[in-house]
Amino acid sequence: MSLFVITYVVFWLAVALYVIRLGSQQRRLQDRLLALQSQLQMPER
Amino acid sequence: MLMVTQFYWMVRKDLVSEYRARQVWPAMLMLGTLVSFLFSAQLDGVVEGRSRIVGMLVWLAIYFAGILAMHRTFAMEQEDDCWDALRLYPVTASWIYLAKFTVNFLTLATLQVVVLGLFVVFSNVPLLDHPLRMLTVALLGNVGLTSVGTLLGGVWTENRQGSTMLAFLTLPLAAPVLLAASEATRLVIDQEGGPLWWRWLSFLVVFSIVFVTAGIVLFELLIED
């Protein structure tokens, strides 16, 4: 019983870690997009 | 006809270079010797299943010492930008692959002679009681390892620190050859020449054909910038 539960927990933990990584990557992309937008609006010459 | 002479001169050039500079073979043979020695030392006292262990160790020693040499054949071309010049000659990539394959095959064959000899001396296993069978296994295993090693070595030409990477990248690809060759070697030691032995042999043949063909067809695709 316990072995089976542990397996499921670890399994979903691993999947969750990957999803979290995807999420943080997404946030970083959005930050870059914002930075790019502000840069394009106010170009320092 | 031109292709054949080109092939001959490419192989000859590599062998002559190696003979003069001795950059690869001594290091490779030394490594093979040391590894064989260490492996055999650990075998001392093992009574049961010796043949199985020796079968694997022989091929591991050959693999690790050999893969370094395979990387060197391409790294050598890189030295004075000779690789670019070689690609500009009217010669197809397939022939370059075949030439490098031949050089690597000869290199590995030398290593095999040394390693097999050392294992006979050090580990006291009747490896050479069936010389013809052992020769067949050694040849086919050599072709299998060399075809994979040459392909990946060519992909890695530009990379200076590639040899360590190459060793662990090739291993999963070459694993079937190592498995089959080890099993076949075990059967040679145990003097079992039955259908199982033929099965492993045929597997080695299939693997060699597949990867040599892959090399001839794909090499052009893989080395291009």
């Binding site: 499921y8 394009l40 | 392909l151 693997f207």
Partner: protein
């Protein structure tokens, strides 16, 4: 390959559908499917194990084919496909080994045995890992793509041989054990649910890689159009 093709990824309904399917599949696996006689509860690992094992193989096929397409067309879009497949496939492959190992402990009393399927999946995992390491270790994008694609393609050629070689060692891995219809249905539902779920992850990652590439291009353009210090003064 185009961004518009991937609009479906962000569709809410799809996410909900997959989530619902997964919950149903897991519920079936954990509660509804009957307990197996000899192994007890641990047998329920089978449902996720088979699903990820299948996905691990599929992922490799996708990676290999995309690598081939990259090598033929030298289009970085294919490399992104192959990278996304590589990452998700590696995850599935790792999970296969993990769940399989626990299964083996429960069923055969050992964490690992040199069974053909186990050996095959270990080598599959090794190939995935090498490709993943390789992707990260080379800076120049096209060279990295070329070398990784070569390895993935050769791996794809190698895989049938690996399966062939390991098969000849006598194995104990069950191929198609007898199961009750409910168990069969549960397994099927799990396989479908996980396939959809990981495909969704794959597509999301793919879109991320595409966005990343687009951003990189735009950032570079912005740099060229609005260089803060004049480039000529800095460069000499």
């Amino acid at each position: 390959m185009q961004r518009s093709d991937l609009k479906i990824v962000s569709a809410r309904w799809l996410t909900w559908l997959v989530t619902g399917l997964l919950v149903a599949a897991l519920g079936m696996a954990m509660r509804v499917a009957p307990m197996e006689q000899s192994m007890g509860q641990v047998q329920r690992i089978l449902y996720i194990h088979v699903s990820v094992a299948w996905l691990g193989l599929m992922g490799f096929a996708v990676m290999g084919v995309c690598a081939m397409l990259y090598l033929l067309h030298r289009n970085m879009a294919w490399n992104r496909w192959s990278q996304a497949a590589n990452e998700v496939g590696w995850l599935c492959s790792s999970l296969t080994l993990f769940t399989g190992s626990i299964w083996a402990h429960a069923a055969w009393g050992t964490w690992w045995t040199w069974d053909p399927r186990l050996t095959t999946s270990l080598l599959l995992w090794a190939l995935y890992s090498s490709c993943l390491i390789l992707r990260g270790s080379i800076q120049e994008s096209h060279r990295s793509a070329r070398i990784t694609s070569s390895l993935a393609l050769l791996g794809l050629i190698d895989l049938p041989l690996v399966i062939m070689a390991t098969r000849w060692f006598r194995g104990i891995h069950p191929t198609s054990p007898e199961m009750e219809p409910v168990m069969h249905f549960t397994l099927l539902l799990n396989v479908i649910g996980f396939t959809l779920f990981f495909s969704l992850l794959f597509l999301r990652r793919l879109r991320q890689l595409q966005t990343d590439n687009l951003l990189r291009k735009l950032e570079l353009e912005a740099l060229v159009n609005h260089p803060y210090p004049p480039l000529s003064a800095a460069g000499g």
